[in-house]
């Protein structure tokens, strides 16, 4: 479960940002998570909750903004939705797809007091 190391990276970014802005507490973390990314939403939320204990971000709300998957279909020559890997192009039923969106794992903002 690599979500643990991802959560540690997340806490590092959050703590550094909080320190720079002289925050007393981080009240929430807004996080963009792609449908085709390498992390599971619940596992990441759980891992962040664990690693944030005793830190400035303890008990911070973890708000996930889901980013849907999208891919370029070679055959249709257009962008189509791709909910998960292994699915066919919803238009033509083939698999000549190149992912164009949905692999995001990014902290978009934090809220501090």
């Amino acid at each position: 479960m690599h979500e643990m190391s991802l959560a540690e990276s997340m806490l590092e970014i959050v703590e550094n940002t909080a320190r720079k802005h002289r925050a007393q507490r981080v009240t929430s973390v807004q996080f963009e998570l792609g449908a085709l990314s390498h992390a599971d939403r619940d596992a990441l939320a759980f891992a962040f909750d664990v690693v944030a204990r005793g830190s400035v971000a303890e008990n911070a709300r973890f708000e996930v903004i889901e980013v849907p998957g999208a891919a370029w279909c070679m055959l249709c020559s257009k962008t189509v939705t791709l909910a998960k890997f292994g699915e066919a192009c919803p238009e033509c039923g083939h698999y000549q797809l190149t992912v164009t969106q949905g692999d995001t794992m990014r902290i978009s903002s934090i809220e501090i007091v």
């Binding site: 479960m1 690599h2 991802l6 590092e12 940002t17 664990v50 890997f85 292994g86 902290i107």
Partner: protein, 359 residues
Amino acid sequence: MCSTCGCGHGEVKIGGVPAEERHEGHGDSHWHQHEDGTWHNHTHSHQHAHEHSHVHTHGSESHSHSHVHAHSHSHTHEESLTGSHGHGDRDHPHSHEHSHDHEHAPLGAVHAPEVSAARVIEIERDLLERNDAIARQNRQQFVDRGLFALNLVSSPGSGKTTLLVRTIESLRGDVACAVIEGDQQTENDADRVRATGAPAIQINTGKGCHLDARMVALALPKLPKLEDALLFIENVGNLVCPAAFDLGEAHKVAILSVTEGTDKPLKYPDMFHAADVLLINKIDLLPYVDFDVEQAIVYARRIQPKLTVMKVSATTGEGMDDWLVWLKRGVEVARTTRLNDVQTLRKKIAALEAQLRER
């Protein structure tokens, strides 16, 4: 600690030495090659890495810069039987990262109505940015040295190490190879590789479930400084976690053995999407197992249409020629790239010197 697999940090060992030591690489292993081509280690390599960050305030806007400095020195001792020592190259890669945050105070009131002092800080930073920055440094180092680096990923027991041993033995005298081994525990795999005469360094991830770019960066100075060679990075046997982490490799090579399920690419799509090469291993066992090779390839290409697929048996050697040809071509491309880079640099230096003479 994670409740799913117990994955955690702080227990990483590289060549048996804890990776968290303050100064990596002091008094470390040191490689020299014997007349028979076998590598032995006993070296001094020296590495410093430090980070600092500072904040500059420009009126109402505040910018912060953080820098990661990585210094590595490696000294190659070419030890001959007469006992003379030669000090070889030295290099100091430097890299700097900069990041900027922007604070928007008035928005805070909207987002946190209960506290008027609440502020929203826009960050827009990728979780993997630090790993990816180190991976880029690794990749540059591979390019500079003409190394064709491969990240081998698979389930435990797919035959990665056996394949490596057979590959190294087949390429002996033709292409130099070095190996970075990743496992939770034991030096067993590195020992198996060293028995072939090739240098190998073992990373033990402790409770960790994957290699990351930093572990590879720390392991690299502990290997002899090969040029125009193959570098195999054998990742921890795990079809999930290593998918997310770029190590700086030229290719992620997924290994799927025929004793596994035909539908494995569909079950573990993240890894088969991250990989661009698929080796189907243990094909000598096909008569005894219920594995449909063509169907597995169809499934894998649904996930990653660009996959290069090769079928091999590390035990009987069947199909190994395709793999070896592919590897040699990769090393040749890496060598050409390195030489072209050197040539480009020489041309630039010549042009600059010409400019100086004109002054």
